[in-house]
């Protein structure tokens, strides 16, 4: 579908969709639920359902609609959420739409605690977490695995919620432990070609393991994060799927974590937990020193002042790689999981290109090369390819060679051959080298 760029895309307010609050064992959940009801009196709730897949299925049934928004028990909507609109074209039965949430303790803006708009059918088809086949490790909803090549997670702009999983020491510990276990598991499985993703994940792990000392139970979250990393690196026979087992985590906390820290003068009024703050600090530092020897992830031991400065400065952007935006653009370009929509694809490639993602710059050029763009311009395509090439894109030299072969009488055979060779050196050497 080629729609003039000037035509504004129609959209739907997020507030039109039913919202379901999902809680399990959080002692503060009722208070957050009441807050949600003030903003959304029509909100529904599921509580105490064991299993992350099961609770989402329950949420779908409770919502009773084709689409529904989930809000986790530690997440509070910002006022801006009431103004969010969704382009119609994004409401595809294979898409889950995500708005990242800001972590109140460490300032990370990520999918942890994010607002998620689910198509009911996708949830019903989902086999994740405790419902995943035995031979598959499932640590999140695995949206991409539900219908490979078609179902996907759609990164939405803006952050309209704040998550605070640290309202009790146990929950803070659990949040940190689960998150770094998961992230470090991901890091150890990414291939060499995804080096940039590895760096990004390592950066996020470093933040989880370092920032938050200024928050009431931030140190527990840091301790949990460091222990989660330690589990992945050093525990024999550690099965990452154990992080889904909330009963196990509760047992581990009660029998091993709390006794190790010991009781002392610090107390959480919500959970009536007592602990020795000095001992907790010592354990965090000791664990950090040990982790330095087994992981490449640096971590800082900073005081509350520094921690608050880093977090309150809101210096962390959404932990979203432009690759996800580019992939969505490709989905709209190719019609995978959605009808073909070139204007939306163009818009998405432009976004990722402005974020200096080379593949998107190439993809924008390709739209012009293939005459799919609104006003195809081979000169603009050439300029984009050269930009992408200089930024290291593997595909750009090859496509530029094709473009020059087609359009430029001045291009030399040598230059074209050099471009093809460059792409091959960078790992892209398709069998057909002519358009």
């Amino acid at each position: 579908m080629r729609r003039p760029r000037s035509e504004k895309l129609s959209s739907v307010p997020l507030s039109d969709f039913p919202v379901v609050f999902i809680s399990y064992d959080e002692p503060w959940a009722d208070r957050i639920w009441e807050k949600l009801q003030e903003a959304r009196p029509d909100a529904k709730r599921v509580h105490g359902i064991k299993g992350l897949n099961a609770c989402h299925v329950a949420a779908a049934e409770e919502a009773g609609a084709e689409w529904f928004l989930t809000v986790d028990a530690d997440t509070v909507l910002c006022d801006s959420a009431s103004d969010v609109t969704i382009p119609d074209a994004y409401l595809q039965p294979m898409f889950r739409l995500d708005w990242p949430s800001r972590n109140a303790v460490n300032g990370i803006v990520s999918g942890n605690g994010s607002l998620k708009l689910w198509p009911r059918k996708l949830v019903m088809d989902m086999r994740s977490h405790e419902r995943a086949p035995d031979n598959r490790v499932s640590l999140d909803a695995d949206v991409g695995a539900i219908r490979p090549g078609r179902s996907r997670l759609v990164p939405m702009p803006g952050c309209h919620s704040v998550s605070d999983p640290s309202r009790t020491p146990f929950h803070a510990f659990r949040a940190g432990f689960r998150e770094t276990s998961f992230l470090s598991w991901l890091v150890r499985r990414l291939s060499g070609r995804e080096a940039r993703n590895v760096d990004d994940l390592a950066q996020i792990i470093a933040i989880w393991c370092s920032l938050g000392t200024h928050a009431p139970h931030g140190k527990w979250m840091i301790y949990g994060a460091r222990l989660g990393l330690w589990a992945e690196y050093a525990w024999k026979n550690w099965d990452i799927r154990t992080t889904h087992d909330y009963d196990w985590i509760a047992m581990f906390w009660k029998r091993h974590v709390l006794p190790r820290i010991g009781t002392g003068g610090e107390r959480c009024s919500l959970s009536d937990t007592h602990w020795d703050a000095d001992r907790l600090g010592e354990e965090i530092t000791a664990l950090g020193r040990v982790l330095e020897n087994v992981s490449d992830i640096p971590m800082a031991d900073v005081g509350a002042g520094v921690s608050a400065t880093m977090v309150d400065g809101q210096i962390f952007p959404a932990t979203r790689h432009p690759a996800a935006i580019d992939a969505l653009g490709r989905a709209f370009q190719k019609g995978s999981g959605s009808p073909i929509n070139i204007p939306i694809a163009t818009e998405l490639f432009e976004v990722a290109a402005l974020l200096e993602y080379p593949s998107s710059i190439t993809n924008l050029a390709r739209l012009h090369q293939l005459e799919l763009a609104e006003d195809p311009d081979p000169d603009f395509a050439e300029s984009l390819f050269r930009q992408a090439m200089a930024l290291g894109c593997a595909y750009a030299p090859h496509h530029l060679a094709t473009l020059l072969r087609q359009n430029s009488e001045a291009a030399s055979t040598d230059e074209i051959a050099r471009l093809v060779d460059l792409s091959a050196e960078r790992g892209f050497a398709p069998v057909e080298t002519t358009a």
Partner: protein, 279 residues
Amino acid sequence: MTLLGDFPVIRTRGAETERNGGFGDAVWSAAGDVTAAARQLAMDTGAPAIVIVAAHVKPSMQAGVIRIAPELATIDAAIGFPSRSLVTGLFLTSGAVLVPAKLLQTAESVPTPTFVLPHSVGRFAGNETPELAFGNGYTTTFGRVAQTVEKRQRLGLAASLGTEALNGYWWILGALAGLLPQALPVHEAWVRHENLLSAPNDLPRHLEGESRRVRLATDMPVWALSQSDSRTLKAMLPEWPPSDMWQDFVSACKDFSPDLDSVAERYTRAASHVWSEMA
């Protein structure tokens, strides 16, 4: 012409001697002569605009392919490009300026950019000597007013990060000096600290004292970090310029002309995926 490298480039000579990095074909000029040199370069080449790279900036290899929106490339206004401080890891608005030849004809100094595009042109060093580092650190904080909580925290970081960098302590001392109320002129501020040149081992303790002094005087969140913590925290900083740089650029586009509304819209869309405040 829509890539920065499509324009002739002039680099301002600073204390550094290394000449590698991006813009390999750049012409060099002493700081005092750069505007005249840029004017001459424009006349010699007939180029519609000249890129002037600030002193102490090492352009990245990708600087030449920074794309300038077609709507911006032909306007009669200077366009700035930030750089990233080698010392603090934070972005500085100074880096390079694309100046239309027309403006250069009458300019007595490098024009202040009307827009600062949120695409970094490279690294800002300026820390080759203690005095140079001190002066540049001072410049990054002197006269800066932080209107929001977030900006205040970032200004605090500008006077805290970097102890592990070459002459990092000196840079931070300069940044702290710039934050003081009734801050001394930079040379007088330098004189207060220069005796430490002969006692470099005292720098960490001295920095602790100065940080405390500034905190007490201004309530600014400034901290004396260990080199290890500074390195680790800097590694957490994002690769993109901060949200206020994107926001300032969008605002400048909207203020300049309705012809730039589409540019503002594209940059807002991009920024909103990264910086929640822009959504």
